[in-house]
Each structure stands twice: as structure tokens, then as C-alpha cells.
């Protein structure tokens, strides 16, 4: 299979505001305490959009910004994007549902345009001035790997780099019956054809497979970290991020539809 390079990486989650912090959490022997995220700046956005973009878009954008750090703006402006999320923006959803339940419905236009599932991708394209293709996908609990599949497929089909951003944000208390995520988690991977990759990249991955090759190493256990982000589909990235943090050749498994698994080879 054709390997792809991970040229950039970003993480934004409870206890892991950036890849540096994520690495130290992923490398630690005992699960450390995880601090809540501060308000995220999203300072790549123009002032109007920065004011309008809400927490979920900021979460996704913060991870994306890390993954393209150091790239010339003109290259970022050519970068196609794939976004994935299981549940989108729960805060916007709860506000909209509350407004719609009033006897006199008054909905704010900003709330409505923020309610489209591709809002983070839209904000990103404005902030990065990218007119390249962008897609936002969901596959419920399998959203992370469904988006990764599309991102890998795009790099292989076009021979061009893709920025993959997976995010899921906490749902507010009003919607806790939906059993969605309680903690924010976003991860971004800048995926490029191997020939384009920089020497100081983050290793390589091969196309996803359905069959495991048991001869290879399994990733080490995750110290209860995945459990901490239960209900957050984007946190399915954790085993891959852990393999990268350890620079360890691994065969990473992702839960897919109908209880199946998809496998990805990580080569440091």
C-alpha cells in the first residue's frame, strides 16, 4: 500500500491544549489530572468571524492551526480539508431548540448559520483563505475513522495534501439525555504524499485495512484516557496519537460500523 506522511499534527482537548501537552499526557505512566480548556482564541479568523464562531468551531480551528504551523499561508490556502464529527455543535443545537420551543419564535441569524454542520469548515476556509475542496462527514460513533478514510482516500486520489480535522464538543446539560460527549476533543492531521513530506514530520501511515496483522505490535493500553473522553467520537484518534507520541511502529485499531474494526499501520 502507498504510505502517506503525517506532516503536521494538532490536538485540542481537556488536559491537552496542544500537541506538546498531549504528548506528555500520552507518554506518562499514570493518567495525570486533565485541566479544562481555556477559551480558545481562533485568532486566524477575521474579527467578524472570530466574534461569531462559537466554542465548537474554535475547538476544531485550534487543532487545525497547530497542524499547519510553520506552513507558508499560500500553501495553507491550497489545502483541501476533511472535517468529521459525530454530533456537531450541541451548544448551538440546545440554544436553537430552546428558541424554537417559545410561543413566539425568534431565532438569531448567527445562531442559524452556526447550526450548519460544516460551520467549522466554513470558518476555517475563511480564516485560511482556502478555496480548495472541503467536506464534513459524520458516521455516528465511527465518525473519526470514516473521516480518516475519506482524508487518506483524497490524498491517494489527488496526490495532494489534505488537512484532516476531527472534533466533538461537549453537549450542554439540557441535552444530556442524548448521551453525547461530556469533554471536548479535537485532533488535526496534515496528511501528504510521502514525497512531499518534511524530514521533521511525524511518521507515516498506510491505507486502512479490514484485516489485522497480528504479527505486529499492538499499541500499549491507554491508561483510561479513552474512557475519560467516552461518547466523544473524535477521541478514537487517541491510540494513533499515542503511537505517534511514542514514535512506536504500531497497528492501530479503530472501531467502525457494526462492531467491526479498521486497522492502520503507523511507521515512525
Amino acid at each position: 500500500m502507498t504510505p502517506l506522511a503525517i506532516a503536521g499534527i494538532g490536538v485540542c482537548a481537556t488536559g491537552m491544549a496542544n500537541w506538546m501537552q498531549a504528548q506528555s499526557v500520552l507518554q506518562s505512566a499514570v493518567l495525570p489530572s486533565l485541566d479544562p480548556l481555556p477559551r480558545l482564541a481562533a485568532d486566524c479568523l477575521p474579527p467578524v468571524e472570530r466574534r461569531r464562531a462559537n466554542a465548537t468551531a474554535r475547538l476544531a480551528i485550534s487543532a487545525a492551526m497547530q497542524a499547519i504551523q510553520g506552513m507558508p499561508p499560500e500553501d495553507v490556502a491550497r489545502l483541501a480539508t476533511v472535517f468529521s464529527s459525530s454530533d456537531g455543535d450541541g451548544e448551538v443545537l440546545a440554544n436553537m431548540l430552546a428558541a424554537l420551543a417559545q410561543p413566539q419564535v425568534v431565532l438569531s441569524p448567527t445562531l442559524f448559520h452556526n447550526s450548519v454542520f460544516n460551520a467549522p469548515a466554513g470558518y476555517w476556509s475563511i480564516g485560511s483563505q482556502s478555496r480548495a475542496a472541503s467536506i464534513t462527514v459524520s458516521a455516528g460513533a465511527s465518525s473519526f475513522v470514516a473521516g480518516l478514510k475519506e482524508a487518506l482516500g483524497q490524498v491517494l486520489a489527488t496526490g495532494s495534501a489534505v488537512l484532516y480535522v476531527a472534533y466533538d464538543a461537549p453537549f450542554p446539560v439540557a441535552l444530556e439525555s442524548f448521551a453525547c460527549s461530556a469533554e471536548p476533543f479535537a485532533c488535526a492531521l496534515h496528511l501528504t504524499p510521502v514525497a512531499e513530506s518534511r524530514v521533521d514530520g511525524y511518521g507515516r501511515v498506510e491505507a486502512l485495512r479490514t484485516d489485522p496483522d497480528r504479527r505486529k505490535h499492538d499499541p500499549p493500553p491507554l491508561l483510561g484516557l479513552r474512557h475519560r473522553f467516552s461518547g466523544n467520537a473524535a477521541a478514537d484518534a487517541l491510540p494513533l496519537l499515542q503511537a505517534i507520541a511514542h514514535r512506536r511502529r504500531s497497528e492501530v485499531a479503530f472501531p467502525y460500523l457494526d462492531g467491526s474494526l479498521l486497522w492502520l499501520d503507523y511507521l515512525p
Partner: protein, 387 residues
């Protein structure tokens, strides 16, 4: 294909050829205070999902089932399963709001003290009816497919992009064939949402017209089976995708992103602008959108290529708009006929393109369909008649 003009392709074609719009005064109860016109599918109200799918029973999934049961689609999927295996057939569907109406009504009942939160809001309501993946999961199980699946939700370009994503999945060897489509049903959030942006017309929408004053929202479901090894009268020839990088809810005034999507679709299909005989417009009847799309088309095709918008028949069906454009384009190619622009009496003189007002027979080899959406997302598809 199922929309306000009818259940199944036959009914839709008759309405398009007869110039009979499916739009009506808004009588969708939860939004009845809005003085606008809608494209409602009556048959949804009477339909129910089979007992085995009770957890999925909601307006959006009923609309999906209605469309699946038309025009021999179930049999075509069965044949694909026999050829490739159920695990080799993917499902890629577009939607903007899925079954959100179920939660909107539950919230309203709670606010009116007609229901208790704990009784009506549940993980099952969310997963099987409301969530973005709900309809894709339902369709996959209804068709008994076990291949890859995803919902694409990029506002009103969603169900055009399904063609691009499914083609990539097939090219990558992820599956051999794919069900693509789009389903969006009437909901409070979209009707009140477009009202908040002052985009709803008080009349049946009049795309491209000098007096156009906004959109009419419709509901629709449509499906197609992409199978590179099957023989069909019409084939999907290519897709182009782009972003505006301009504004969250207004199009780029010059249609720069839209033009890029059309150019990329032509490149992807290895065609030149002159190879396209007809363009099915996104054509929502919003003043800035129609003008921007016109400029985009003029910059790529000049003023000769025939264009029309079918939104005056169906309304703007949001996440199903892409598949409606594609299926009407497919119908045009099979029938060697092109639809006009319902409700448009006088074309806006500002528009440079050749807007076709009345449906008529026409020799067509290839059509291009546009679908653009909030967040500045654009997708164009090329369909080709196979000789």
C-alpha cells in the same frame, strides 16, 4: 426521487412537463405562523416505517423510505448485492438536519408541559431519528447493506458531494458500488432559520426572475446507485468541489468559488465547457445567489449554454438539493428534454446566461448540476448520456 411534485420519478416528470409546481402556502403546523410557500410531500404524513424499524420512525426516515420504494430502486440494490456482496456496497447520503424535527417537537411539548423531558428525550431519539447519521444508518439497514457508510453534511451541497465521496471510496477499493442520495424533510429550525435571515419569499419562489424575492423551502429524498460495472443510460462523469472562503451565509458576489467547482468538474470529467449542453442551476431564487451563480457560469461557459432552475417546482430542498438536481439532470438526459424555470415570467435582465423558461424536448449529451451552500461550500456534477 420523491419531492413536492410527486412520489417517484414518473409523477415528478409529469409535473415538470406540465408546468405544475408542487409548492403551496405554508401549512406545516409547527411553522404555520410563517407566511411563506413550501414544497411538502403529503405522502409522508400517511406513511409509517415497518415494525422492525420503529425506533427510526420519523419524518426524515419515512421520506427516505418512500423514495427507496420507487422506480425499482430496491430491486436494483438487490442486484448490486448479488453481484458484489452486501459488504461491498457503500451508502453515502447527504442531509442538513436529518430528523431534528423529532427533537424540536419533543422540546415544544416539554415547554408546553405536555411531556416530561426524561420521557421524550432519549439516546434512541437522538441516535435513530435526530442525529446526522440516523438516516444513513436507517437506509443501510433497510437495504441490508454492510459496506462503508457516511453522512455528508455540507449544508446545501451535501447530496452533490455524495457522488464525489462515493467515487473516491470506489476508486480506493473500499467498496465496488454505492448508494448515494440525500434526504431532508421540513423542520422548524430550517424554516424559522431562513426566515431569520429574511431569505423566505412570501410567494412561490421565482428563480432567475426580475422580481424574485427569496426562496421556498421544500422537502425531498432521492437515491442513485453508482456501479462502475453496471450498464445504464446515464453515467456520472465527474465532480468538482470548492470553497468560497468569503462569508458564512452569503455567496461570493462574483461566484469565484462556484466557478472553480464547475471548472474542476469539467477537468474531472475531462471535458471542455462547450461539451455541456444544459446546466441545472442551484437557482434558489435568492437575489444575490442567482446573480452570483450567473456570473460564475458566464465566466466558465459564456452565455450560450442553456440553464434553468427547477426550484420553482420543488422548492429548495437543502441537503437533498444536490441529488434532486442530479436526478432531474439524469431524467433530462434519458428523456432528451430539458426543464424550464417554473414561476419565472421575466428573466432578470442583469443575468447574462441563457435561462430556459419553458420545458421542451432537446438533444442532450451532457448536463452539469450545481449545488452550493452555507459555509461557502460548492459542488458541481457532470452527467453523461451513454450512446
Amino acid at each position: 426521487m420523491t419531492n413536492a411534485c410527486g412520489v417517484g420519478t414518473g409523477e415528478v416528470l409529469r409535473a415538470l412537463q406540465a408546468g405544475a409546481s408542487g409548492l403551496r402556502r405554508n401549512d406545516f403546523e409547527p411553522t404555520a405562523s410563517l407566511a411563506t410557500w413550501i414544497g411538502r410531500v403529503d405522502a409522508v404524513d400517511a406513511s409509517r416505517l415497518p415494525e422492525a424499524f420503529a425506533a427510526y420512525d420519523c419524518r426524515n426516515n419515512r421520506l427516505a423510505q418512500l423514495a427507496l420504494e420507487q422506480n425499482g430502486f430496491m430491486a436494483a440494490v438487490r442486484r448490486a448485492v448479488q453481484t458484489h456482496g452486501a459488504d461491498r456496497v457503500g451508502v453515502f447520503l447527504g442531509t442538513t438536519t436529518s430528523g431534528i424535527l423529532a427533537t424540536e417537537l419533543a422540546y415544544r411539548a416539554i415547554a408546553r408541559n405536555e411531556a416530561r423531558s426524561g420521557d421524550v428525550l432519549s439516546p434512541e431519539l437522538y441516535r435513530c431519528r435526530h442525529s446526522l447519521f440516523a438516516t444513513t444508518e436507517f437506509v443501510r439497514e433497510y437495504l441490508r447493506l454492510t459496506g462503508p457508510a457516511a453522512t455528508i453534511s455540507t449544508a446545501c451541497s451535501s447530496s452533490a458531494k455524495v457522488f464525489a465521496m462515493a467515487s473516491r471510496a470506489i476508486a480506493a477499493g473500499d467498496c465496488d458500488a454505492a448508494v448515494v442520495g440525500g434526504v431532508d424533510s421540513l423542520a422548524m429550525s430550517t424554516l424559522f432559520g431562513f426566515h431569520s435571515l429574511e431569505l423566505l419569499s412570501r410567494h412561490p419562489c421565482r428563480p432567475c426572475a426580475v422580481d424574485r424575492d427569496g426562496i421556498s423551502i421544500g422537502e425531498a429524498a432521492g437515491f442513485a446507485l453508482l456501479d462502475p460495472r453496471a450498464e445504464a443510460a446515464v453515467r456520472f462523469a465527474g465532480a468538482g468541489e470548492s470553497s468560497d472562503a468569503y462569508h458564512m451565509s452569503s455567496p461570493h458576489p462574483e461566484g469565484a468559488g462556484a466557478a472553480r467547482a464547475m471548472r474542476e468538474a469539467l477537468d474531472n470529467a475531462q471535458l471542455a465547457a462547450r461539451d455541456i449542453d444544459y446546466i441545472n442551476l442551484h437557482g434558489t431564487a435568492s437575489r444575490p445567489n442567482d446573480a452570483a451563480e450567473d456570473r460564475a457560469i458566464f465566466s466558465v461557459f459564456g452565455a450560450v449554454t442553456k440553464v434553468s432552475s427547477t426550484k420553482g417546482w420543488t422548492g429548495h430542498t437543502l441537503g437533498a438539493a444536490g441529488i434532486m438536481g442530479a436526478l432531474i439532470g439524469e431524467l433530462s438526459l434519458r428523456q432528451q428534454w430539458l426543464p424550464g424555470t417554473q414561476n419565472c415570467e421575466r428573466v432578470d435582465p442583469v443575468l447574462a446566461c441563457a435561462v430556459v423558461l419553458h420545458s421542451r424536448p432537446e438533444r442532450l449529451r451532457r448536463v452539469l448540476c450545481n449545488a452550493f451552500g452555507f459555509g461557502g461550500t460548492n459542488c458541481s456534477l457532470v452527467l453523461e448520456h451513454t450512446p
